[in-house]
Subunit: 472 residues, 2 copies
């Protein structure tokens, strides 16, 4: 069996679905090849079950049954997966093909399933195979005690004591969720602080909340060994050995590995990098014409919304090649659904250092509890907005929000930054009272208060550092 398509998409996760459904809706003949579940990580082992769990955990109170919560998570996840599978199987112009795809030439794939195989060809091939969790071998730890995000949401009994390895988004979101379900949670990580990708102030806030909720944390620590007879996990921090007792499960969340190896990319000439994955330009194009890559297999940020955004651009590129598309990729915000939430948009620490001299940056910090009435009425202990802006001009370089509704508030800054709307204009807006968003007005207020009375000084600093080499 063979077949030729306008576009073949490998991988039915968020990114792949965006491209396949998008092109099919535009009348293109599309094949979508998936070896596992439709929906990819997001629907099956990522955002959907994790956010359902986080939502239910928030409502959890002593006396309720944690196991039932886990079972409801599985139910909701399966229902959405079924719905998405149904949609994909019945969409006009879309051929859903189960199987593992492997390149045999730049535009040719061999797809195998249950011992059968078929050959597919296409004008365009989009690689959207995602990533899988990085594993960690802890001597003595039985397989059935070890979890990753891929097995976590099949749990139907809440562990009494859960050890989480890692301090990134998945680790932190699950630490807060399971703590609320009554599980004793211990975290340890090689990192020196939680959420290394965020600014240190955000890590501080989240660490304070971890401590308030009695989630034990050990940083710059590594796993040593596990003793099944006593269920004791030994970890090492510097020269010090720490033992964790009565461990039921160990969730490993130490990063992800791109699904590249079994693709037969060597048959295509597509360039990859051991650390960054499949190399693409801002349109998702690899170095081989007609071969695209999006989502977690690429160097772009590993979020569902990033994969979707990349997918949308690839759809436009393939369907309307002559319509100009913005050269630069859009701003990718990020969000962590811990408690408080953390969201950020704009330059990373490294990009900021490359982009401008520190002397030109004005940092504004507004704390919800002391600077907004809503933070006061809601008793927000750890929450703030931090904005780094260009002195004098008020152009926003990045924004970080820590607080109960950070993930919704960040889009305000995405819009402001994308449209180059300065803090002067943001100052003129009216924000409903009493909201967390009125903290945005305070940011603009503080900027004005520091700038307007010192215009001469600010102008001088601006002129001095505007074209100064960044201190690298």
């Amino acid at each position: 069996m063979t077949g030729h398509f306008s576009t073949i998409v490998i991988g039915a996760g968020s990114g792949g679905m965006t491209v396949a459904v998008g092109l099919a809706n535009l009348g293109r003949k599309v094949a979508l090849v998936e070896g596992n579940h439709v929906g990819g990580d997001c629907t099956n082992v990522g955002c959907v079950p994790s956010k359902t769990l986080i939502h239910l955990a928030k409502k959890f109170r002593p006396g309720m049954n944690a196991d039932e919560v886990l079972q409801e998570v599985v139910c909701k996840r399966d229902a959405l997966r079924d719905k998405e599978t149904e949609e994909v199987e019945h969409l006009e112009n879309l051929n859903f093909i189960r199987g593992m795809a492997k390149f045999t030439a730049p535009k040719k794939l061999s797809v195998t399933h249950d011992g059968f195989s078929r050959e597919l060809t296409a004008d365009n091939i989009v690689i959207a195979t995602g990533a899988h969790p990085r594993m960690l071998d802890i001597p003595g730890l039985p397989k059935e005690r070890s979890l990753t995000n891929e097995s976590l949401f099949d749990l139907t009994n809440a562990p009494k004591h859960l050890v989480i390895v890692g301090a990134g988004i998945i680790a932190l979101e699950m630490a807060f969720a399971f703590q609320k379900l009554g599980t004793q949670v211990t975290m340890f990580a090689l990192d020196s602080r939680p959420l290394m990708t965020a600014i240190p102030e955000a890590s501080e806030a989240i660490q304070a909340e971890l401590e308030r909720r009695r989630i034990s944390t050990h940083y710059t620590a590594t796993a040593q060994s596990f003793d099944e007879s006593t269920r004791t996990l030994t970890i090492k921090k510097g020269e010090q050995l720490i033992t964790l007792h009565h461990v039921d499960k160990v969730l490993v969340a130490i990063g992800r590995v791109r699904n590249i190896n079994s693709l037969g990319l060597e048959q295509t000439g597509v360039k990859t990098d051991a650390r960054l994955g499949i190399l693409v330009n801002s349109f998702g194009e690899t170095n081989v014409k007609g071969v695209y890559a999006i989502g977690d297999v690429t160097p772009t940020s590993a979020f569902t919304h990033s994969a979707n955004a990349q997918g949308r651009r690839v759809v436009q590129r393939i369907a309307f090649p002559y319509v100009p598309l913005a050269k630069k990729e859009p701003l990718f915000p990020n969000a962590m659904f811990s408690d408080p939430e953390i969201a950020a948009v704009g330059l990373t620490e490294k990009q900021l250092a490359e982009y401008c001299h520190p002397g030109i940056i004005k940092r504004i910090r507004v704390d919800f509890k002391t600077h907004t009435d809503r933070g006061y009425t809601d008793g927000v202990e750890n929450g703030f907005i931090i904005v780094d802006a260009v002195r004098l001009t008020g152009q926003i370089l990045r924004a970080t929000i820590v607080g109960p509704r950070a993930s919704e508030m960040i889009s305000f800054f995405t819009l402001a930054m994308s449209q180059k709307i300065s803090l002067y204009k943001i100052y003129r807006l009216v924000y409903p009272y009493p909201t967390y968003s009125s903290g945005i007005l305070k940011v603009a207020d503080f900027f004005m208060r520091e700038t307007l009375p010192n215009l001469g000084k600010e102008l001088a600093a601006y002129l001095k550092y505007r074209f100064a080499k960044p201190k690298m």
Copy 2:
């Protein structure tokens, strides 16, 4: 005792404080006159206690003590009031004067307190005296059973059965809050639907939630009489009499009356309107030079954030009279902190009808539950974004959001509308997944999907209705 000031502000509520503190910080000699508590309605009997109550009610579970919640509300309110009073009493350049102010001439006030009186004069006088709740006389209802927002937050025992008269913001917020505390709540109102100021779809959503929470509602109904011996309230709906049994308290929330009458305005020539209050232009100026009015005494929307925004403009006008200020007032969003929240910004139904022909409006509706994954994971039954935009151009005329975080999401639309950012640009942004805000992307998506394939038709409609007279 007499005294002359650069500016006298009458009323230490949100608006008055903004002006008094703002001008004092700029070095002006200011008097702030207040006959009651510092903080005005917002701090004492409005947003602050109500939002504290709403927040605590959300966390309330069977087995907890509702009376303790009410006592915590009082505590938090009093602490903030004390802090604000302290600030006002010790701010440089600010003279805080307790007493009731009455005009004796356009720039002259007589202030009385405890039988003493003094005369004050000023270059500018700002009237910020707010409003008080409209009362309702229900025959047979003892005074001690009758509440308004002014007495509600002094309650230290949660009523078993609370009847709420009215279906506006205060009525609805308190209905949801007390229902969560375990109180049986019955609402009745003259209005034909809840939240008459919102679009009908928002009323529908809130009505569905009221019913889901078993809050009884009776619309187009009036109070008839109360029988204290049986604690029975009789209300009338058309020809039908309805009896409400075992009523503990009746909260009257049927609107507000502006505090104008005892001001001696007849001594100033300041123009007022029986329905609209003190008439002002967009700078808060009355027809008498040097006399300003802001907040609830004016026709502008009766929100704390509106009073603040007006106050900021008055500060600029008084302190920097030669700096040009935008002629138009900023957009005033509004928000209701019910469950779900409702927030809106942009033209009202009436303004929309005056502004343009209905043929040029494209309405986009995105339901959280069916169109966003977050609505799915969080099980949002009643929630949506409705945007009315100009056909073809995608210019946003108004936005209404009903949902768990509506009050924070609305500022995105305030920014977009203020800066005339169309749905085409909003379409290009990336929104964190899975958030309610990704519903904003869906709005833009739906607009594009309806517009791009029908460009000819949309262009024709645009040209036909662009300059068409509105159908009034």
